[in-house]
């Protein structure tokens, strides 16, 4: 005979509550994807290929797409080499004073509010140059990208079993050769995924571009010292405009951004065990 017991009842309530809250945690993402697809798809369908290639007057976001690619490319050129070296350094000297300080610094930079980076770059690049530029935007993105790449590099290197390290030094090659010719190639996969995730991350950043990139939506960018647009920045501007047309265009641009992001992020994420963002 089943008897009512308070303990069992509590247990049931608990399990139902946990499941409900879990659904509530991930439900927003489904709703976001649904809303973006529902509002964005009709805009893209209606305008066709011009949406991807045309300028603002043709109701297209071509220059913004080009701008985002240009910014990610430039910021990678600036940020990746430095971040990679810092990551390798942090791996090689985890316990020295500088090594520990570097790791603490990377942590702080990971959490640094991105809008502050934008303001900082405006002060050191935009004001002296007298104009917004792709270079300034890319530098701001590079600052945001660096700690991610460095931490990913360090973590990927730490995954290599210690015996490989012993073996490579045992060959009698110098430290430079042992690390850059043997250990780094061993961690290549982890480092590459880290780099790709960081690039996907900065491609979606808005705040650091607010006071650095300037925006260019009529024609394609031609020079790195001139203002440039970006998809997130364009969406931010469009949302704040009162016109309905601008809003639907913002949804269309959001769909493009979302597809880019999911297209890069999910395959990488599936091939990786741990992700830190």
């Amino acid at each position: 005979m089943w008897k009512f017991s308070l303990r069992m009842a509590k247990d049931r309530v608990f399990i139902v509550a946990v499941s409900a809250f879990t659904i509530l945690t991930v439900y927003p993402l489904l709703h976001i994807i649904y809303s973006v697809a529902r509002n964005g798809l009709p805009v893209i369908m209606e305008r066709g290929p011009t949406f991807f290639t045309g300028g603002m007057s043709e109701a297209g976001i071509g220059p913004a797409i080009a701008g985002t690619f240009l910014l990610v490319l430039l910021s990678s050129l600036i940020g990746l080499p430095i971040a990679f070296l810092v990551g390798v350094y942090a791996y090689e000297y985890p316990d020295s004073l500088i090594g520990r300080t570097t790791q603490a610094l990377l942590q702080i930079m990971l959490e640094f509010p991105t809008v502050l980076v934008g303001v900082f770059v405006m002060d050191i690049i935009v004001l002296p140059m007298g104009t917004f530029s792709a270079l300034a935007g890319a530098f701001a993105l590079a600052i945001i990208m660096m700690p991610y790449v460095a931490v990913y590099t360090k973590e990927a290197m730490r995954q290599i079993p210690f015996t490989y390290r012993e073996a490579s030094f045992g060959l009698g090659v110098g430290r430079v050769k042992a690390i850059f010719r043997i250990l780094v190639p061993l961690a290549k996969r982890g480092i590459t995924t880290g780099i790709l995730i960081s690039m996907a991350k900065v491609a979606g950043e808005t705040a650091p571009l607010l006071f650095t990139a300037g925006g260019l939506y009529e024609s394609y960018p031609t020079s790195v010292t001139e203002p440039v647009g970006a998809i997130p920045l364009l969406i931010y501007t469009l949302i704040q405009s009162p016109s309905k047309d601008a809003h639907s265009m913002a949804w269309g641009a959001s769909l493009v951004l979302l597809i880019f992001f999911l297209g890069v992020f999910i395959p990488i994420r599936r091939s990786l065990k741990v992700v830190r963002l």
Partner: protein, 308 residues
Amino acid sequence: MYSRVADRFRLITSPAVFFVFILFCGMLAVYFSNAYPAIRREGVHLFLDNTWRAAEEPEEEYYGIAAAIWGSIYTSSIAILISMPLAISYSIFVVDCAPKRVKNVLIITSDVMAGLPTIIYGIWGVFVLVPFMKRYVMTPLYEHLHFIPLFSTPPISGFSYLSAGVLLAIMVTPFSSAIIREAYQMVPFRYREGAYALGLTRYEATKVLLGYIKPAIYSGLVLAFGRAIGETVAVSLVIGNSFNLTPSIFSPGYTISSLIANQFGNSFIYGHMRPVLYAAGLVLFLIGFLVNLAGMFILRRWKKNVEI
């Protein structure tokens, strides 16, 4: 021992490390030096007053950023309060209840949410979340409970501390739940066995096991708070951007980051506004820095205890 002179490795990597250090120090220097005039001009009142008088005459200008500081802390606190039960339940479900495939899907979903461009949260917040909150949460609460100070502002636009807090909660839950889930997974299996061997129900066993990872829960929430306070575009789109210093969660407000995002562009017209915004940035940095430091400290101490 390697001879220091011959260590080409240091020679190659040190410039990069040095560059990052210089960059960081430069950043602090820029903020301190640019904020200094504002702090000298207005002193402590800059942070304690709620006035925003931008005037053409520089002598007339007077700024107090108390409302923005309040807004930042308030919205992030709302976010954490909402995020706490969600993150804990999610971790319990993923570790204890979910079958392997569901588990993987849930973890990937959470990671996607952590990395999703914030502007997408922003556009969803403006056109979907805010109207929803206004119609189904704020209006009924105001109609029936407006005598409570928390709900005392009529929800005219829906842009408010509450909307910003809810959106932030959605955005930062993946960060706290990642930390809590990892910690919950690390609870030694024998404790689990022990709990069930005592005949505890799942609820009772979980309660005991959660006690074990309490520090990790705190640090997850603290780190999420740090994330929330630095968030810019999504918040500035839904918070309503007006200077209010009130406990009413339906009132539109400002946060430090949305203040900077909104005002920095036109601060050049005014004589004294720019240093004020740098000072606000400095406050934002300091709050975030302290909060993150605390979170990492708790987590590190706990991890050390666990390993022993």
